[in-house]
C-alpha cells in the first residue's frame, strides 16, 4: 500500500471556495477566478508516495507547493479532495484526532527552522515528545539520540541562537525525527542555508534516509536540489502539478515549455546517466568486440560527467553494460557532445526506456 496518497486536492482562498472548485473542475481558468477576489492556490493535485521514497515537489514561489504540503498534515484543510495516510482519510478526522496524527506520525521541518528560542537545543528536539506526554527521562533520552543522529551530540545544553544556520536546521531535523514519525514533511528546509552547507545537509539527509527509510515529502524551488534528492519529482506551476516523474524523465522529456525553461540551467552532466543517452550498438558487432575497443565500460546509472575523460582520449564509443556484463548500448563522443549542447525540447525524441513509459502512462 502507498504510504501517502493525495486525491484531487484543491485549496481555494477567498469567498465561496466550493463554488470556485466547481468552476475549476468545469475548466475555468485560475486567472478568471482571481478577478473575483478568490485565489486558487492548489488545483486538482493528485500523487502517490511509496514508503521509503523521497517525493520532491518543485516550483517557484507562489506555485502552491507550500499550501499543498500543509494540506498533507491538515494544517490547512483542503477545499476539496482527500489525503490518505496509510489508508486513513486525514480530511475526515476531527481536530483532536488530527492533532494525534501530527504529534506521532507526521512531523515537519521548516524553512526558517522554527526553533523555539526560549528552549534549549535538547528541549527543542524533545518538543514533539513533550506534546505526546512522554515522561521527561525517556523524552530527553530520545531527543538526545535524535540529536546524535543529526550530528549534534554535545550541543544539548546550547541555545538555538548560539548555533549556525546549518546546525539549527539539524535541530529542526532532530525534532522531526525524535517522534519516530513515518512521514517527514520538509518545507524548503535547506533553502535558507548557504550553498556549501545546503549540500552538506542534502548529503546528510540522503545518508540518514539510507538508514531510517522514512517517507519524505520535500518542497523546494531549487531544481538541482530536487534532482539530487528526489526519487520522484512533481513540478508545480500556478497551483497545478504540470509533470511528475523521475529526475531524468523531467530532464529528458519535459512535458511543456515551462518545465523545459525551468530545467535549462541544470547541470545535465550530473543528472543524466549513460543509460539515458546511449545509442544502440552498430548492427552485427559482438559484445566482445565492442568491449575490447571501448576506452571504458560503465553501467547505465553512471552520470555522464564520468564519460568525459574516456571520450576525450578515444574516438571510440564507451560501452554501457548491464549487471551481467552484456552490452546494452554505447555512447560515442558525438552523442555525448550533442546531449550537452542541446536545449531540452518538449517531448524530446529519444528512445524511451521502460520506466519512462510507465510514468507517461500514469501521468
Amino acid at each position: 500500500m502507498s504510504r501517502l496518497q493525495a486525491e484531487h486536492l484543491y485549496k481555494v482562498f477567498g469567498r465561496r471556495p466550493d463554488q470556485a472548485v466547481r468552476k475549476l473542475q468545469d475548466g475555468t481558468q485560475r486567472d478568471e477566478l482571481r478577478a473575483d477576489g478568490t485565489t486558487a492556490a492548489v488545483i486538482d493535485a493528485s500523487f502517490t508516495v511509496e514508503p521509503g521514497q523521497i517525493f520532491v515537489v518543485m516550483g517557484l514561489s507562489g506555485s502552491g507547493k507550500s499550501t499543498l504540503l500543509r494540506m498533507l498534515n491538515g494544517l490547512l484543510e483542503p477545499t476539496a479532495g482527500r489525503v490518505l495516510f496509510d489508508g486513513q482519510d486525514l480530511t475526515a478526522l476531527s481536530a483532536r484526532e488530527l492533532r494525534g496524527v501530527r504529534s506521532s506520525k507526521i512531523s515537519m521541518v521548516f524553512q526558517h527552522f522554527a526553533l523555539f528560542p526560549h528552549r534549549s537545543v535538547l528541549e527543542n528536539a524533545g518538543y514533539g515528545l513533550e506534546v505526546q506526554g512522554v515522561p521527561r527521562a525517556e523524552r530527553e533520552q530520545r531527543a538526545a539520540e535524535a540529536l546524535q543522529l543529526t550530528g549534534l551530540a554535545g550541543w544539548e545544553k546550547s541555545w538555538p541562537d548560539e548555533l549556525s544556520g546549518g546546525m539549527q536546521q539539524r535541530v529542526g531535523l532532530a525534532r522531526a525525527l525524535a517522534t519516530d514519525a513515518d512521514l517527514l514533511l520538509m518545507d524548503e528546509s535547506f533553502s535558507a542555508l548557504d550553498p556549501l552547507i545546503r549540500r552538506d545537509m542534502q548529503d546528510q539527509l540522503l545518508e540518514l534516509q539510507k538508514r531510517l527509510k522514512k517517507t519524505i515529502v520535500f518542497i523546494t524551488h531549487d531544481l538541482n536540489e530536487a534532482m539530487r534528492l528526489g526519487d520522484r519529482i512533481a513540478v508545480m506551476r500556478d497551483g497545478e502539478i504540470v509533470q511528475q516523474g523521475t529526475a531524468e524523465d523531467i530532464l529528458v522529456r519535459p512535458s511543456d515549455d515551462y518545465v523545459a525553461s525551468f530545467i535549462q540551467d541544470v547541470d545535465r552532466s550530473r543528472v543524466l546517466t549513460a543509460g539515458s543517452i546511449m545509442e544502440a550498438p552498430e548492427e552485427g558487432r559482438s559484445d566482445k568486440d565492442l568491449l575490447a575497443e571501448a576506452p571504458a565500460t560503465v553501467s547505465a546509472e553512471t552520470p555522464i560527467a564520468e564519460l568525459f575523460t574516456p571520450c576525450s582520449t578515444s574516438g571510440v564509443a564507451v560501452a554501457v553494460t548491464d549487471a551481467g556484463g552484456g552490452v546494452i548500448g554505447v555512447v560515442p563522443r558525438t552523442r555525448l557532445l550533442a546531449v550537452l549542447g542541446e536545449e531540452p525540447q518538449v517531448e524530446d525524441v529519444l528512445p524511451a526506456q521502460g520506466e519512462a513509459e510507465a510514468v507517461k502512462a500514469s501521468a
Partner: protein
C-alpha cells in the same frame, strides 16, 4: 444643523445608574476600598527606613548593588521630605490600580490577539479610554463611588488599561508565525500553543506593557488627588492651587522617585520572569568582566529571605510601638461632647476654606470628636456631601459662585447658614496702574492690557458672570478677551506682571490673601454688574442635624469677622503646608474666647 444632544443622554444615563444600580457601585467601592486599605496598611505600616530597606533589597535582587543603594537613598529622601505617608498612600493606589488593570488587560489582550473581531471592537474603546480627559469620568466616578480612593482607582484603571491590552495583543501577534505553525504541526493544542509558545515569547512585550500601565497609573495620582484619593497627588494639587512652588516641587520629586523606582524595577522584572529575559541577562553578566561585584544579584531565595526578615522586624517594631503609645489624647480639658464620634470635613483648597476647616477640625477634636479632613475639587466636594461621604464643608459661595452645584444638589444638602460675608467679586489691577479705578475706566484702554483679562477656571461661576454681564454692562466685549486658565496660573501671571511693573487686569475676589501680599486696587463697579456680594455658607449632608444635633447648633452660630479670618489666614500661611492644624491651634491660643464662643459646652 440640529443640536445632537449626546450630553443629555449621558446625563440621564448617569442619573439612572446612580439611582438604580447603586448596590453594584457600593460593592465595587467596598472591594476596591478594602484592597487599598490592605495594601496601604502593609506599605504604610512599617518604619519608613525599614520599608526603604525592603525596597532596596528588591532593587538588589532585580538590578544589583548600585540601584539598591540609590533606592535606599531615594526613599530616605522621601521620608526626610516628610512625605512618607503620602508616598506610601500613592504607591498603594498605584499597586491596587495596576494589579486590577493587569488582571483585566492581559487576558483581554490575549483574546484580541486570537480574534480579529474582538480586536477591531476593542480598538475604538481603548482609544476612548486613553484619550478621554480624565475629569470627564472622574466626576461621574465621584457620583457613583463617592469621594475617596475608589474614583481615583477607577479613573487610573481606565487610563492605564489601553497599553496593557495593546502591548499584550501586539506581543502575541508578533510571535513568529512559523513558530506557531511548528507548534501546531507537532499536534499542540491551541491552549498549549498559547501557554508554551506564544505567552513565553510575548512576555518581554507584555512586560513592557505592564511597565507602561504602572507609569500611567502613577501619572494619574495628581488627578486622583482632586477627587480625594489622597497621597502625593493631593499634596501636589494643594500646592499648585496655593501657588506654593516649593512644596509642589517636593511632592513632585517624591512622585519622580516613585516613578523611577517602579519603572526600573518593572523593567528589570522581565529578566526574572521571562526565559528570553533570563537568557539575555545571563549573557550580559558573562560579558561583563570588569566591576563584577557591581553586577552581582542575589538569587530569588536570598532576596526573599531578606525581605521577610526586614518585614518581620518592621512588623515587630510596629507592635512594640503601638503598645507604647496606646492612650494618646487630643482633648484639651473641655467637655467631651463628641464622645469619639467620627466626622468628615471636606474642603476646596481655597484659603478661607483651609482656614475655617482646620479651625473646626481643631475645635472638634478638642470637643472629643474624631475629625477627618479631605481636600477636594468643588465638583467632587458637593457630590461627596450630597452622598453623605462628607458630613459638612464650610466653603459654599452662594448664591453666585457655586450656583450650579447648589442647583444640582440642593435637595440633598442642608444649608447651615453663612459664617462670613459679604464677599465680593471684582476685576483687580495693581495699584501702579494709574488712571484706572473703575470698570468704566477700562474702556478704550484695551491696548494697555493687550486686550486680555486674566481669568480663572472657566468652570467658576464668576467667569460666567464676567462674560455674560460685566463686560456687556461696561461695553467691554470685543475689546477684551477673557483668558480662562486656573486660579494658580492667574496668580502666577499677576505675580510676574507685578515684578515687571507691567499693567495687568485679573479676576479676583475678597477675601483673598493676594490683597495682603500685593498692593492691589479693586475696580469699582458703579453699575453693580457683579451683583451683590456673596455669603460663605456652611453646608452639610441632608440628615446632619439628626446625627450631630449639638454640632449643628454650633455651626449655625459660626461667624468670623474679616479681621478674624484675615489673622487666621495669615497664621496658616506662616505655618506653611502640612502644619495647618498646628497653625489653627496657635491662632486659637491667641484668641482663647473664640473657641468657647464657637463651641459652647452645654450646662
Amino acid at each position: 444643523m440640529p443640536r445632537f444632544s449626546f450630553g443629555a443622554w449621558v446625563e440621564n444615563a448617569v442619573d439612572w445608574l446612580q439611582s438604580n444600580l447603586s448596590w453594584i457601585f457600593d460593592a465595587i467601592k467596598t472591594v476596591l476600598g478594602g484592597m487599598y486599605d490592605g495594601v496601604d496598611a502593609v506599605l504604610g505600616g512599617g518604619e519608613p527606613l525599614l520599608m526603604a530597606a525592603i525596597f532596596a533589597v528588591l532593587a538588589f535582587w532585580l538590578r544589583g548593588v548600585v540601584p539598591a543603594v540609590l533606592t535606599f537613598v531615594g526613599f530616605a529622601l522621601i521620608d526626610s521630605l516628610a512625605l512618607w505617608d503620602e508616598a506610601m498612600a500613592t504607591l498603594s493606589l498605584v499597586v491596587v490600580a495596576a494589579v486590577i488593570t493587569i488582571v483585566i488587560a492581559v487576558p483581554t489582550g490575549v483574546w484580541a490577539a486570537r480574534n480579529s473581531k474582538v480586536s477591531a471592537t476593542l480598538r475604538p474603546v481603548l482609544d476612548v479610554m486613553q484619550t478621554m480627559p480624565a475629569f470627564v469620568y472622574l466626576i461621574p466616578g465621584v457620583m457613583f463611588f463617592g469621594v475617596g480612593v475608589t474614583p481615583g482607582v477607577i479613573a487610573t484603571i481606565v487610563f492605564a488599561m489601553p497599553p496593557g491590552v495593546r502591548m499584550t495583543e501586539l506581543g502575541i501577534r508578533q510571535v513568529d508565525g512559523e513558530l506557531v505553525e511548528a507548534a501546531e504541526a507537532f499536534g499542540t493544542t491551541p491552549k498549549d500553543t498559547l501557554t508554551r509558545v506564544q505567552l513565553p515569547l510575548a512576555l518581554p512585550t507584555i512586560m513592557a506593557g505592564i511597565n507602561q500601565v504602572i507609569m500611567l497609573a502613577l501619572s494619574m495620582v495628581v488627578i486622583g488627588g482632586m477627587a480625594g484619593a489622597g497621597g502625593l497627588g493631593e499634596k501636589v494639587y494643594a500646592a499648585i492651587t496655593q501657588l506654593q512652588v516649593g512644596l509642589a516641587a517636593e511632592s513632585g520629586i517624591a512622585v519622580v522617585i516613585l516613578a523611577m523606582y517602579l519603572d526600573r524595577m518593572t523593567g528589570a522584572l522581565n529578566e526574572r520572569v521571562s526565559p528570553l529575559g533570563r537568557r539575555a541577562a545571563a549573557k550580559a553578566a558573562a560579558s561583563a568582566r570588569r566591576m563584577k561585584f557591581a553586577h552581582y544579584k542575589p538569587g530569588t531565595a536570598v532576596a526573599m529571605i531578606g525581605v521577610v526578615v526586614l518585614a518581620l522586624v518592621a512588623g515587630g517594631l510596629n507592635m512594640a510601638g503601638s503598645g507604647g503609645s496606646g492612650a494618646k489624647s487630643n482633648q484639651a480639658g473641655g467637655g467631651n461632647v463628641g464622645k469619639g464620634q467620627k466626622i468628615n470635613l471636606g474642603y476646596i483648597p481655597w484659603d478661607e476654606g483651609i482656614a475655617s476647616t482646620f479651625l473646626w477640625k481643631e475645635i472638634l477634636e478638642q470637643r472629643g470628636y474624631e475629625a477627618g479632613v479631605t481636600q477636594l475639587d468643588a465638583g467632587p466636594l458637593y457630590s461627596g456631601v450630597a452622598r453623605g461621604d462628607i458630613d459638612f464643608q464650610t466653603d459654599s459661595w452662594l448664591p453666585t459662585t457655586h450656583k450650579d452645584y447648589w442647583d444640582k444638589y440642593s435637595d440633598q444638602l442642608d444649608d447651615l447658614g453663612s459664617w462670613y460675608g459679604p464677599t465680593s467679586l471684582e476685576l483687580t489691577v495693581p495699584s501702579y496702574v494709574k488712571g484706572i479705578d473703575s470698570l468704566a475706566d477700562l474702556k478704550g484702554q484695551g491696548k494697555k492690557f493687550n486686550g486680555k483679562i486674566i481669568g480663572i477656571e472657566s468652570s467658576a461661576g464668576m467667569m460666567g458672570t464676567l462674560n455674560d454681564k460685566v463686560l456687556k454692562a461696561y461695553g467691554l466685549e470685543g475689546e477684551y478677551k477673557v483668558v480662562s486658565s486656573s486660579t494658580s496660573s492667574m496668580l502666577a501671571e499677576l505675580n510676574a506682571s507685578i515684578k515687571k511693573k507691567e499693567p495687568v487686569v485679573v479676576t479676583l475676589w475678597s477675601p483673598h490673601w493676594a490683597y495682603g501680599k500685593h498692593d492691589l486696587k479693586k475696580l469699582e463697579d458703579p453699575k453693580v454688574a457683579w451683583g451683590e456680594g456673596e455669603q460663605i455658607h456652611t453646608v452639610a449632608k441632608k440628615d446632619f442635624a439628626e446625627d450631630f444635633p449639638e454640632l449643628t447648633g454650633w455651626l449655625k452660630d459660626f461667624k468670623l469677622s474679616e479681621a478674624q479670618l484675615a489673622s487666621l489666614e495669615v497664621e496658616i500661611q506662616k505655618g506653611g503646608a502640612g502644619k495647618e492644624k498646628e497653625s489653627a491651634r496657635h491662632w486659637m491660643d491667641a484668641n482663647p474666647d473664640v473657641v468657647d464662643e464657637m463651641a459652647p459646652v452645654g450646662g
